[in-house]
Amino acid sequence: MDFSAISPVSLIVSLMIASTPILLAAIGELVVEKSGVLNLGVEGMMIFGAISGFIAAVTSGSPLIGFIGGAAGGALLSVLFIILTQYLMANQVASGLGLTMMGLGLSALLGYSYAGIKPPASAHLDIAGLSDLPVVGPILFSHDIMIYFSIALVAGVWYFLNRTKAGLILRAVGENHDAAHALGYKVIRVRLLAILFGGACAGLGGAYLSLIRVPQWTEGMTTGAGWIALAIVVFGSWKPWRVLIGAYLFGGVTILQLNLQAVGVNIGAAYLSMTPYIITIIVLVVMSADKKRASINAPAMLGRLFHASK
């Protein structure tokens, strides 16, 4: 066993890469939940984004078009959820589960002939001087563009929710949809846009998996990342920056256990593979334990049906 094979710098770099898909999906789901909707279909939208992004990138040869394709794919799948929950008033939990099953099935169907292909490589930031600095260079200045984008997205969502009128309306809809309706706000339209955004973010996260993190297409490749994103939203108490911290902590655990497996620590690989999921459970438990705080931070209408009949 040789722990010196684990270099802290490359560990941090790979941590960021491992965290980004979950971060993207989680920040999208945060916006959805803030509007009072619980979309449990993140896993499905993510994997559908992974394959649609992959196909778009391979066919066009451009990773950028790939990411656009991934976002479009995730948003497209979320339309099904919108129809069911916003117009046909179906149960959100069941619809979200259905979305996950549908996403897994559709992606496997579409990806049938794409297994084993390499996607086009994504460009990395390369600033002469800065990117070559020791330690700081690889950690801050030489990632692929999507990592910077994901952090910018977190900042953008934070600004939107806390500093804009539209963000205030979205939070109001999530807090009390009847009151928002009485004030004349379009509850369904706000939620529709939020769900589409959540779908696009999840799709983007999926495309990051298939285009950069892995990078190739394999069936069921998200292995629960979408569900973990859901847990990260709870961990972050519905606050964008805390979601970022949560995603990076989670990425750290994943990378650490992979590195431990690689250097052959004397625990079975299968046990090490469990750790991300066990850590997720522990995190959920810790963050939910204070009932009062949890119920103040959570949007009050989360998962409730809205029908403007009266």
């Binding site: 009128k165 205030l168 309306i169 939070r171 109001a172 807090e175 009390n176 009847d178 009151a179 928002a180 009485a182 004030l183 004349g184 706000y185 009932k291 009062k292 119920s295 103040i296 949007p299 009050a300």
Partner: protein, 503 residues
Amino acid sequence: MTPLLRISGLTKAYPGVVANDNVSFDIQPGEVHALLGENGAGKSTLVKAIYGLVHPDSGSMELNGSDYTPKEPRQARAAGVAMVFQHFSLFEALTVGENIALGMENAPETKALSARIRTVSENYGLPLDPDRLVGDLSAGERQRVEIVRCLLQDPKLLVMDEPTSVLTPQEVETLFHTLRKLRDEGTSILYISHKLDEIRQICDHATILRLGKVVGTCTPSEETPKSMAEMMVGTTLTAPKKTAFNPGPVLLEVHNLWLESSDPFGTSLKDVNFSLHAGEVLGIGGVAGNGQDELLLALSGEELVEHDAVHFKGEAMGDKGPNHRRVRGLQTAPEERLGHAAAPDMSLTENALLTAFEREKLTSNGFIQWDATRNFARAIVEKFDVRTPSVNNAAKSLSGGNLQKFVIGREIMQNPDVLVVNQPTWGVDASAAADIRQALLELAAKGAAVLVISQDLDELMEISDTFAVLSEGTLSKVRSAQGVTIEEIGLLMGGTEVSHAPA
């Protein structure tokens, strides 16, 4: 003079009910106009039409002489119509400032808005802190948020739907002061209420609605409450018969009851003490949100408290659940009918089973006797005149009054020794309310003890033998209901014991 708002022939029908039937009336500039009517008379529908939330089937409205057909509240606000809702349209987890910004078309940025909120609210004697969370405010303060939100838009017409139902008598005075000031500045106010005294105090003109139709107009200052009530109700009401009160043995004793509210915006109970005798009707008054729900939960057993805090017929059962208490004869009927006292989508038969299965022995070895249960439900429906096609109908298909009769009837039919009810006639039409009060009095006359929690002081004065007030989770001393004045009650509601109050 051109009326500010003219309503002509407005009609709105819902499946099975015509909410507004050819309604016409005018509101003049600078007047306080009352819209008077019972629950279900169509006041809310009319108001929603004025505010653009409901689109009338036919009829027209004119604002300042020009056509006014608001498609949505946004357009109503733009035209100068503002509304204070009966059930506040506020967001508990957002701040006062954010709540106000949401109700404005072009809200200024945060700092400027906060400054304006402070100025306007102080101008009208309604002080507010823009940075506080609405969830932490009292009901009276929440209403201020709604009013200030309206005032910031310089409305020409301010619509107020039952504004005093959540206020203490003193707060009502403050509100009236503000409304008079507004009227004197030229703002018209449409004031919806069924409280005749208030309307006589504040309104210049009144339009009276019954079953969706305008049945009369009047100048309230020239009418007596009785004459207006007759226009409103259409029939003469029989007041419940109050028999003399001979206190029997103590049935329920509550001693040092503390309960931390499980609702983050609820009110915790602090050291509540009282005892309830056979034959007694104890009325507990107070403004909503002062611990009423928590008190009911502690007595029903839904929230467990210290073992010794609740003694029922000599047995300490503070830490025992609802069914333990029910079997022994301590029954409760909470305020929320649908979703608390009754399961909305379940039939009346199933809802009868909900609380009665043990005391009425509707199960054997855990297996449900559906025939017996159906008979029990039918007996409730018959005895309490519940209007429903059959006991197989879902609870949510009943009107508020009928469901309330069923829910209270279900508890009374089980012959409780103590019955605790919260807001027994809230949102119930007048004849059903009279029936319910009569049933409670009859129960007490038979030797049971009844605890009525209500925000309707008139109701409490009518039926109570003894009286106390809940304020911020603390219960005042229980006193005889004879000779209590509204002023004393008002001070108690504000949290002051009468003996300490300044003269």
